[in-house]
C-alpha cells in the first residue's frame, strides 16, 4: 500500500520539468512523514532526509540519468527524486550479507539467538535448523531459556518436527547449557549449534550479563538479534544496547508476513552498522528468507 507521505511527494513533483530546492524540501517533508509512519527511528529519519536532500538538490534537475546498466534514460524530475529516495534507502540497508559465519568442515559452528520477549527467537531457531538441514549440515538446538514456562518443550517440539536433536539438562545455568550443548554436538558429530535464549529487556542488567556469560563460555560464531518487524521507535535503543554488550553479527527481522512497514530495518542497520541476515515470513519452519534490501525498501517508503 502506498502511504500518503511518499505519494504526496511524487504528486507534488509530477509534471514539473525542473525542481528547485523549495520543491525538494517540500517533498522531503512528505518523505519524512512516510518514514515516521513506517516506524523508522526519529534520529534516523533526520539523517536520511539530510542525505537525500544533499543528493536531490544537486541532481534532481537532470532529466536524463545513467541507469545501473550504463544506459542513458530520460526521466521526469519526479521519477528521479523517487529513484534517489529508493536507491539511498537500499544503499543504507545493504550491502547484502545473508551469510552466517561458519567454521571449516569438521568443526562446530555456533549461532546464538538473542532479543526482546516474544520477538520470535525460538521459532526462528527452528527455522535456522531447517535452513541448515537444507544445506546438508547437521544442526543441534540448545534450549537455554530456563525461565519461560514450557520454553524447553516448545523447542523440543520444533526439533522433533525437523528430526534435529535438542539439548537440555535441568538445573543447569544457560552458559553451562551452551558448553554442554557444544559437547553434545561434537559427540553426535553435529556441525552447527543453535542456542535459543530467553527473551529479555536490554536494560535488564542481570540478564544481559547472562548473555555475555554465554558468549564468553562458547564464543559462538554468530550472535543474532531477533527483531519483531512491528517494533517502533524502541528499535534503536534495543539494537544499540544489545550490540554494545554483545557485538552482534547481524539481525533477523520477523513477522514480515503482516502489514508492518518494517522501518526498524533501516534504524537498526543505520545505528549499529550490522547487516540484516534473514527475514521471518510466517510461523512455519520453512518461512525464512535471506535478506534482500529492495523489497524492504519499497515497503518502508510506502
Amino acid at each position: 500500500t502506498v502511504s500518503k507521505g511518499f505519494r504526496a511527494a511524487k504528486n507534488r513533483l509530477a509534471g514539473k520539468t525542473e525542481i528547485g530546492p523549495e520543491a525538494v524540501d517540500e517533498s522531503l517533508r512528505d518523505i519524512r512523514v512516510s518514514l515516521l509512519e513506517a516506524d523508522v527511528a526519529f534520529e534516523v529519519v533526520k539523517k536520511f532526509v539530510a542525505r537525500v536532500r544533499e543528493k536531490a538538490i544537486g541532481e534532481v534537475v537532470k532529466t536524463t540519468i545513467t541507469d545501473k546498466h550504463g544506459r542513458r534514460i530520460r526521466v521526469t524530475p519526479s521519477d528521479h527524486f523517487v529513484k534517489i529516495c529508493h536507491d539511498e534507502l537500499e544503499a543504507l540497508m545493504g550491502p547484502v550479507d545473508a551469510t552466517l559465519k561458519l567454521k571449516p568442515k569438521g568443526q562446530v559452528s555456533g549461532v546464538m539467538m538473542v532479543g526482546l520477549q516474544g520477538s520470535g527467537k525460538t521459532t526462528t531457531a527452528g527455522k535456522l535448523a531447517n535452513y541448515f538441514l537444507k544445506q546438508e549440515k547437521k544442526p543441534l538446538l540448545v534450549a537455554a531459556d530456563i525461565y519461560r514456562p514450557a520454553a524447553v518443550e516448545q523447542l523440543r517440539v520444533l526439533g522433533e518436527r525437523l528430526g534435529v536433536p535438542v539439548f537440555f539438562e535441568p538445573d543447569t545455568s544457560p552458559p553451562e547449557l551452551a558448553k554442554k550443548g557444544y559437547a553434545a554436538a561434537r559427540e553426535k558429530r553435529c556441525d552447527v549449534v543453535i542456542i535459543d535464549t530467553a527473551g529479555r529487556l536490554a536494560i535488564d542488567e542481570q540478564l544481559m550479563q547472562e548473555l555475555e556469560a554465554i558468549k564468553s563460555a562458547v564464543a559462538p560464531d554468530n550472535v543474532v538479534l531477533v527483531v519483531d518487524a512491528m517494533i517502533g521507535q524502541d528499535s534503536v535503543r534495543t539494537a544499540a544496547e544489545f550490540d554494545r554488550r554483545l557485538s552482534l553479527d547481524g539481525f533477523i527481522l520477523t513477522k514480515l508476513d503482516g502489514d508492518a512497514r518494517g522501518g526498524a530495518a533501516l534504524s537498526i542497520k543505520e545505528v549499529t552498522g550490522k547487516p540484516i541476515k534473514f527475514l521471518g515470513m510466517g510461523e512455519a519452519l520453512d518461512r525464512l528468507e535471506e535478506f534482500r534490501p529492495d523489497g524492504l525498501a519499497s515497503r518502508i517508503l510506502g
Binding site: E37, L116, G118, G232, Q233, D234, R237, D257, D259
Partner: protein
C-alpha cells in the same frame, strides 16, 4: 529577543522529538500540537513549559476513557476472550489475570484455545497452576472453538465465576485466522448468551504504528472492549495507544510490567502520561 512565534517553533521541535520517539505517530502528534496551539493562542502562552503542560493535559484527557469493569459483570460465568498478534503477551497476561481472580476468592477456568503453536497448552498449564485456576484443554490441533465451548461448559458445571479463553497469536492481515476468531466468538455466545462479556486485545508496548491497524482489525472482527498493554517495564512508551483511544475509543484496561504473576496493574492515565513526558 525571540518573538513568541519563534519560541514556539523551537519548543515544538523539542516536543516533536518527545512525542515521536514515544511512538505517538505523525497524525496524533499533529493533532496534539494543533490542540495545544489553539489553547496557546487563546491564553497567550508560548513558554516551553506551558506548551508541554497543555499537551500533557490533552494526552491525559484522550486516554482517560471510561474503562468497563474487567473480570466481572457477565454471566456467571463472566467470559473473557483474549486476542492479539503473535508474541504480544496473551498467555502470560491470562496467567496474571487468573491470579487476580483467584486472589478475590473466586473460581476461574482457563480455556487452552491456542491449539496451534508448539507447547502453547503446556505453557498455559504452568500459569493455571500458578494462578490456582482449572485448565480445560483439547487434543493437539483440536478446533479452538470446541475447546472454548468445553471450558465454558465446565465452568457452568462447577459454578466458576470467570472463564478466560486463550487464543493463538495471529496477524490481523490473515483473513482465515480472523474468521477462526469470529467462530470462537460465536461459539462463546452459544455456550452463554451474551458471551464473550469482555474481549481483551493484548498489545505489545514496543510495537510502533502497526498497533493501530491491529486495534482496528481486531475491533472489526470480534469487537474489543479493552486493551492490555504489555511490556511497559521496558524502554518503549506505548504512545500508539493515544491514537487508538482517540480514534477508536477503546480504553486501556490493564498494563503489563514484567514476566511474573504479580506484574499486571490497572491502567492509570496519570502514570502513563508521566512515564511518557518525564
Amino acid at each position: 529577543g525571540a518573538t513568541p512565534k519563534q519560541l514556539d517553533e523551537s519548543v515544538l521541535g523539542e516536543l516533536e522529538e518527545i512525542l515521536f520517539t514515544a511512538d505517538i505517530g505523525v497524525r496524533t502528534a499533529a493533532n496534539l500540537v494543533e490542540a495545544a496551539r489553539e489553547k496557546a493562542k487563546r491564553n497567550e502562552l508560548s513558554s516551553a513549559d506551558r506548551l508541554k503542560s497543555v499537551i500533557r493535559q490533552e494526552v491525559e484527557r484522550i486516554v482517560d476513557l471510561e474503562a468497563p469493569k474487567s473480570l466481572e459483570g457477565g454471566g456467571p460465568p463472566h467470559v473473557v476472550m483474549v486476542v492479539g498478534v503473535n508474541g504480544s503477551g496473551k498467555t502470560t497476561t491470562i496467567g496474571k489475570l487468573a491470579a487476580k481472580v483467584s486472589a478475590q476468592g473466586k473460581k476461574v477456568v482457563l480455556a487452552a484455545g491456542d491449539t496451534f503453536r508448539a507447547a502453547a497448552t503446556e505453557q498455559l498449564d504452568v500459569w493455571a497452576e500458578r494462578a490456582g485456576a482449572e485448565l480445560v484443554k483439547g487434543k493437539e490441533d483440536a478446533d479452538p472453538a470446541s475447546v472454548v465451548f468445553d471450558a465454558i461448559k465446565r465452568a457452568k458445571e462447577t459454578g466458576a465465576d470467570v472463564v478466560i479463553a486463550d487464543t493463538a497469536g495471529r496477524l490481523h492481515t490473515k483473513a482465515p485466522l480472523m474468521e477462526e476468531l469470529k467462530k470462537v466468538r460465536r461459539v462463546m455466545d452459544k455456550a452463554v448468551p451474551g458471551a464473550p462479556h469482555e474481549v481483551l486485545l493484548v498489545l505489545d508496548a514496543t510495537n510502533g504504528q502497526n498497533a493501530i491497524q491491529q486495534a482496528k482489525q481486531f475491533q472489526d472482527a470480534v469487537g474489543v472492549t479493552g486493551i492490555a498493554l504489555t511490556k511497559l517495564d521496558g524502554t518503549a512508551k506505548g504512545g500508539v495507544i493515544i491514537g487508538i483511544c482517540d480514534e477508536l475509543r477503546i480504553p486501556v484496561a490493564w498494563v503489563g510490567v514484567g514476566e511474573k504473576v504479580a506484574d499486571l496493574r490497572r491502567f492509570d492515565p496519570k502514570e502513563f502520561v508521566s512515564a511518557l513526558f518525564d
